[in-house]
Symmetry: C2
Subunit: 342 residues, 2 copies
DNA sequence: TTGAAAGCGCTACCAA
DNA sequence: TTGGTAGCGCTTTCAA
C-alpha cells in the first residue's frame, strides 16, 4: 500500500454530491452529449468543489488505453550523456502529448537486445498505447515484434518499405548542397566518415554523400567507417590525415565525430578550414562552443518529436494518418568550411 | 478503441487453462504462499503457453499503485539540448526502476509554474506513485504541493530542513580542495561566477566557495551572477576580464559557463591557464572536447539517479528510508588550472 | 490448499 | 435526459 497517499475524490463522490448517477458524471465531464446543461453545470461544480481529478488508472482499465506512449532510447549511458538529440526530441514529443492528456514513458536500453526486450515488455504489459521507432537498424527486429503485437508505432526517419506511419526530415538535399559547395571551393578529395554500421541513418547519409559526389563529378571513394562518437572522429582524423594525399575536406555523419575530427586535426598542426574543411551533421549546440564553429547540416529533432507524437496519437485513435515530411535539414555554415588553399 | 491492439491473454484465460481459480493464478504468479507446488507448476505452464503477461492496468487499479514514478525536468527546450545532466541521471534512475518493474514518466516543463502544474497533475491523476524533486529552488512551491497531497518524493541535493528523504553528493569538499589548490598555485584574485539565482545548488556552490576562500585567508568578494549557460559564461568573461585588475582564476558554478568563459578569454587574447585559470563544476563530457581540457569538480548524476530511485521505491513501499550520501564530488584537473604567471 | 466474490474507478451500453 | 449496471483485469479477503 503506497505510503501516505491521500484519499482522492472518485466519480462516486462527485455523483453523490451532484445527486446524479456516475454515468452522468462521466458523460458530463467528458463533454459527451446527452446531459442537460443544467445537470452538467451542477456536476462541474460538484467536481470542482471536491477537487476531483479522474483517476488515470480507472480510465485506463475501462477505456483499454494506457494514455501513455513509450520511447526506448538505445544508448550506452555514457554516450547518452553527450548526445543532445534526445533532449530536443523528447521536448517535441511532450509538446504534443501534454495537451492531449498523454504521458511519455521513457526507457533506456544499453544495446539492441535489451532495447527489443524493453519494447516488448512495454507492449505486453500494456503500459503504453504506442511507441516511437527511433534509430532504426537496417534489419531491425523491433519492427516484427511490434507488427506481431499489433501495437501502434511511428517511425522516425525510417527506411523505404517501412510498415508503420513515419515522420521524415530529408537531409540529402543539404548534403548535395554541401558537396557542391565544397566542389565550388575547389575541393576534390572529399572524405566521408560514416556512422555506426547497420543503422539506417548511417546508410542514408552515406548514400546522400555518394550521390552528391557522383553528381559533382567526383569519385566517392574516400569513406571511413566511424561510430558516431567523439573518439571515433579523432581516430578518423588520425587515419585520414596520415595518408600520403589526405583529403582537403571531410563530411562526418554527425557533429560529435566532426568535433573529434576537427580537434585532432588541429592538434596535428592543421588549420581549419585553411588546411582542411570539416563539416558535421545534426547541428548540436556544442558546435558553437569550438573555434572555428562547426559548419553542419542542421536537423530539427524537436519537430520530429512533435510531428511523430501527432502521428502516433492519430494512429492510436484509429486513424490512418499520412506520413509527415518536415522541412528538410539545412546546411549552416559557421566557419569550418573554406576554400582549398592555393 | 485503440487500433489493432491484439487480444492479450488475461488471468481468466490462464485460470481456465490450468483449471483453477483466478485467485490461485494471482497467488502462484506473485510467489505468494498457499499454493501447492503442483498447481503452481500447472499455472506457470499455462501462463507460459498462453504468453501471459499481467496487465499493468488491472494491477494498477487493484493494487492502488501506478508502478511508475515521475520526473519533471524544468528546462527550456533549447537549454535541455545542451545539458547532459539529465541523460546520466535518467540512466541511473532506470537502473533501479527496471528490475523492480517500475517505469519512468518523464515530463518537460519550460518554467517553474508549469513545472509545478505538471507535478500536481501527475499526482492528482494518480499516474505515478512518487516523484523526484530536482533542481530545487530556495522557495520551491512544489514541496508544499507534494506534502499536501501526501505523494512520496525524494530530493536530489536538497537544502537543509527538507521534508522528504534525500540523496546528496557533497561538492563543498572538492571546492575547498580547489580553492586551496588555487591558493597554493599563487592565486589571490579568485572569482566565482554563480548559477541562476534562487536555486539551491547555486547557493550551495557559492557558500562552498565563500567558505573555502575565507579558509584560505582570501576575501570572497569577486562574485558575478551567472545563469548556467554558455553565453552567460562568455558575458562573465567580458565583464571580469575588462576590469583594471582582473582575476587570475575563476571558478564557475557549472561547466557550460566555464566553457563559455574559457572560450571568450581565449578570444580576448588570453592564454588558459597561463593568463587565467578556469574551473567548472559537473564534469560533463564536453569539457574534454576543448583545449585545454576543462578542469572541473566531477559529480556523479548517474549515482544520484540510481540511489534516488532506490529511496523513492522504498518510500513507496511504506518504508522510512534514511538519506543517502553518495561519495563526494572530486576535483579532476585536466589542464585549465595552472600557476599564476610570474 | 483452493475457490468464490467483492472491489479498485472508470466507460459505455441499455432501459426507464 | 437520466439511472442502473456490466464489465475492464487484476488483488485480496473470506469460506469451503
Amino acid at each position: 500500500m503506497p505510503a501516505g497517499e491521500r484519499a482522492h475524490a472518485t466519480i462516486v463522490d462527485v455523483a453523490q454530491r451532484a445527486g446524479v448517477a456516475i454515468s452522468s458524471v462521466s458523460a458530463a465531464l467528458n463533454d459527451r452529449k446527452g446531459v442537460s446543461s443544467a445537470t452538467r453545470d451542477r456536476i462541474r461544480r460538484a467536481a470542482d468543489e471536491l477537487g476531483y481529478v479522474p483517476s488515470i488508472r480507472g480510465r485506463a482499465l475501462s477505456a483499454k488505453r494506457a494514455f501513455s506512449v513509450g520511447l526506448v532510447v538505445e544508448r550506452d549511458f555514457t554516450v547518452l550523456e553527450a548526445d543532445p538529440f534526445f533532449g530536443a526530441f523528447i521536448g517535441g514529443v511532450e509538446e504534443t502529448l501534454e495537451p492531449n492528456g498523454y504521458a511519455l514513458s521513457l526507457q533506456i536500453a544499453g544495446d539492441a537486445a535489451s532495447s527489443l526486450e524493453r519494447q516488448v515488455k512495454l507492449a505486453d504489459a500494456r503500459r503504453v498505447d504506442g511507441v516511437f521507432l527511433n534509430e532504426i537498424r537496417t534489419n531491425d527486429r523491433r519492427i516484427a515484434a511490434l507488427l506481431e503485437r499489433g501495437l501502434p508505432a511511428v517511425g522516425i526517419n525510417p527506411p523505404a518499405g517501412f510498415p508503420f506511419p513515419a515522420v521524415r526530415q530529408d537531409g540529402s538535399a543539404a548534403v548535395h548542397e554541401l558537396v557542391s559547395a565544397m566542389a565550388a571551393l575547389g575541393h576534390r578529395r572529399i572524405a566521408h566518415v560514416t556512422g555506426r554500421s547497420a543503422y539506417v541513418h548511417t546508410e542514408q547519409r552515406l548514400a546522400a554523400w555518394t550521390d552528391a559526389m557522383s553528381a559533382a563529378g567526383l569519385s566517392p571513394e574516400l569513406v571511413l567507417a566511424g561510430d558516431f562518437t567523439y573518439a571515433g572522429g579523432e581516430r578518423a582524423a588520425d587515419q585520414l590525415l596520415a595518408e600520403s594525399s589526405p583529403p582537403t575536406a571531410v563530411f562526418c555523419a554527425n557533429d560529435l565525430m566532426a568535433l573529434g575530427f576537427m580537434s585532432r586535426a588541429i592538434e596535428r598542426g592543421l588549420r581549419v578550414p585553411d588546411d582542411i574543411s570539416v563539416v558535421g551533421f545534426d547541428g548540436i549546440a556544442v558546435g558553437d562552443y569550438v573555434r572555428p564553429r562547426l559548419t553542419s547540416v542542421h536537423t530539427d529533432p524537436r519537430a520530429l518529436g512533435r510531428e511523430g507524437a501527432r502521428l502516433l496519437l492519430a494512429l492510436i485513435d484509429g486513424d490512418d494518418p499520412d506520413d509527415v515530411d518536415i522541412p528538410p535539414a539545412s546546411l549552416v555554415d559557421k566557419g569550418s568550411l573554406g576554400p582549398v588553399r592555393a
